[in-house]
Amino acid sequence: MQRIALLALAASLALPAAAGEEFAPEASLILQGQYRRTKDVPERAISGYWSAGHDHGASRRLTFDDSELVAGARLGGSARAQLNLAWHNNKVEVEEAWLQALGLGNGFTLKGGRFLSGIGYLNEQHSHAWDFADAPLMSKALFGEHFAQDGLQLKWVAPTELFVELGAEVGRGNAFPGAGSKGAAAFFAHAGDDVGLSHAWRAGLSWLDSRAKGREGHFEDTDPLGPNEVAGRFSGRSRTVAADFVWKWAPDGNPRYRNFKIQAEVFRRTESGDLACVSDVATSPCLGGLALGSLRSVQTGGYAQAVWQFMPQWRAGYRYDRLNAGAKSYDAATAFAALDPANAYFSRHRPTRHSLMLDWSQDEFSLLRLQLARDKSMPGVTDNQLTLQYIVSFGAHGAHKF
């Protein structure tokens, strides 16, 4: 089914190209560098949340992660293609590689390939477009950072003066919170408008339904000879609903000198399925795989942030992150026979974080940022973090969504 749809998309793209429509390629290079000083925490995790890939971050480090190469091309008026390659942990990853049909008309566009999902507000933005040096805890807990689909996205803009957009996506479902190619479906609705000359807003509701088979997470077992790192495995369904809101102010609609932006997103995630663990350590209770009964969790959280450009080139921002431990139901006797109850996932701690940032842009192509954060993602740890970041872009003039 999906293959047929992709073929159809490819055909719709090939036709205009064959008809000799203009081909307009563009490329840009975005370099990022970060120096980060954090507390020395051996196992970083967001307490209470399934670890979507884990982090043994050093306390002081310099990274060039999220440096990006973007190539895009417009094929006449009928299609667009884009490729984003990003540098991540000394590897080059394909963040996005998609084709978008723009010639369907009546407000419809169809995108196919790997793309950042349209759910939420921040998810579609690459890290160089963020207002802070890192992602909100919500994005990290829900998606690891970004939720990218390998699949199709159909969007429709209503023929009204009020901006109303509906979107639906189907994907392979390999990306967290899904696993094992069990499929993921997403729906979203956005509305937005101006209020007077100086204000604009957008609000959205999103829904993501992912299925996971053997989704791995990082756990420690109850081996009497000492805890081992074992893989926790979740198989079941993960459903996320999220609401987002952004409101921007610029005097007379001219953001060049001063502007202000408030943005907030909240979510509720429900997961239900089975928990298991697996290890190849001979003394581990998880040796060879052990079923640990059913698992159900309901978790909520979100973030709110405000960014103020108080004079040309200078912006200051504050962000508050908060995740609730929520409710989990599982058979404690079975689960804790194999897994240490002290595992971050079983924690009742409520992660919070306060972040302050100040950035300076020489022009639209370069930015320097200082960020201070007090991160309480883990019980008993108050991590005061300092980040220095630069972003420099070369090539085609970037154009960002609202």
């Binding site: 803009v157 003066e161 000359l197 001219n254 953001p255 960002h400």
Partner: protein
């Protein structure tokens, strides 16, 4: 229920508005579309005179308007590169995508000034296609009006004659006005002017004014105190031995008489220099709606000339 359904069908089948819906990126193109289309066109401008057309956000309201447009009229020459591409892509409107008949770029029909020989970010936000602020030479409006009227006629074939006739009438009025403005501007010839940004190059080129310098050290870079102090030093320096001021940056603003800005430029750098150099700071309307008198394309030039002559 059935009746309701029929009503909805009927409502959908009825043309909501018979006129051509034009989405203009800047007010001057909305004004031009109105001149050419009269009551057969409804024109909406995505930006207004207090907004810097380089720095616009791809707001939801713009996407909704682009969704319903039949014709998008923009300057082009990369002026809208930071916001128009996502607006058009997100609109889902196939008819107005670049390359389609519903997409019109004015800058393609004029001779552009300041086309760089090389593109280097160290030179600021330089546009490869040259200076995009083409509207302040009214001869450019004439050059754009003819293909725009033709495009309107192609999109709305039933009224092609209407657009052609209105274009003729507009061209006649504009030619007469140009002759009058050029006569009024004779005393301004050779006047040395400091501009905040390279917003007025076409105006100066048309009327023979000389851009003696810019408050921005490089296009798109905010005027800094060091650069302003340097301009002030030049402005205060006396010409040596009566030599005519050179074109180089060292003699740039000597003998400049005026500082000009657009309504959306910050007044501060200009005020700073005006206060210390004695040159007056004048806010030119820049586009339709940029001043009380600049309510249409003719008023735009009437007011611009009056302000340059120090009459208002």
């Amino acid at each position: 229920m059935k009746r309701l359904f029929l009503l909805i069908l009927l409502a959908a089948a009825l043309p909501v508005r018979a006129d051509v819906r034009v989405f203009a990126c800047e007010p001057e193109w909305a004004a031009l579309a109105k001149e050419l289309g009269g009551d057969k066109v409804s024109a909406w401008s995505a930006t207004h005179a207090l907004q810097d057309p380089h720095r616009i956000e791809a707001r939801p309201s713009l996407i909704a308007r682009a969704r319903n447009a039949q014709l998008v009229v923009c300057t082009g020459a990369e002026l809208e590169a930071g916001w128009l591409p996502p607006v058009l892509r997100e609109s889902g409107n196939a008819a107005v995508q670049p390359g389609r008949p519903g997409y019109f770029e004015a800058a393609q029909f004029v001779t552009r000034l300041e086309i760089p020989t090389r593109i280097d970010r160290s030179e600021g936000d330089v546009h490869a296609s040259g200076n995009p602020h083409i509207q302040l030479d009214p001869r450019n409006l004439l050059a754009v009006a003819a293909p725009l009227a033709k495009r309107l006629g192609e999109l709305d074939a039933a009224n092609a004659g209407h657009y052609a006739a209105r274009q003729q009438a507009f061209a006649e009025r504009m030619r007469a006005a140009i002759a009058r403005w050029e006569k009024e501007a004779i005393p301004l010839r050779g006047l040395r002017v400091v501009a905040q940004h390279k917003s007025f190059s076409y105006l100066f080129h048309w009327l023979g004014l000389v851009e003696a310098g810019t408050l921005e050290p490089k296009p798109g870079i905010e005027p800094g105190s060091a650069h302003l102090a340097q301009l002030l030093g030049q402005a205060k320096a006396r010409p040596e031995g009566g030599a005519s001021p050179g074109r180089g940056s060292t003699l740039g603003v000597q003998q400049a008489r005026l500082i000009v800005r657009t309504p959306f430029d910050s007044p501060r750098p200009g005020e700073w220099l005006a206060e210390r150099s004695g040159m007056p700071l004048v806010t030119l309307p820049f586009t339709v709606g940029g001043s009380e008198r600049a309510q249409d394309l003719f008023g735009l030039f009437d007011d611009t000339l009056a302000k340059l002559r120090g009459e208002s």
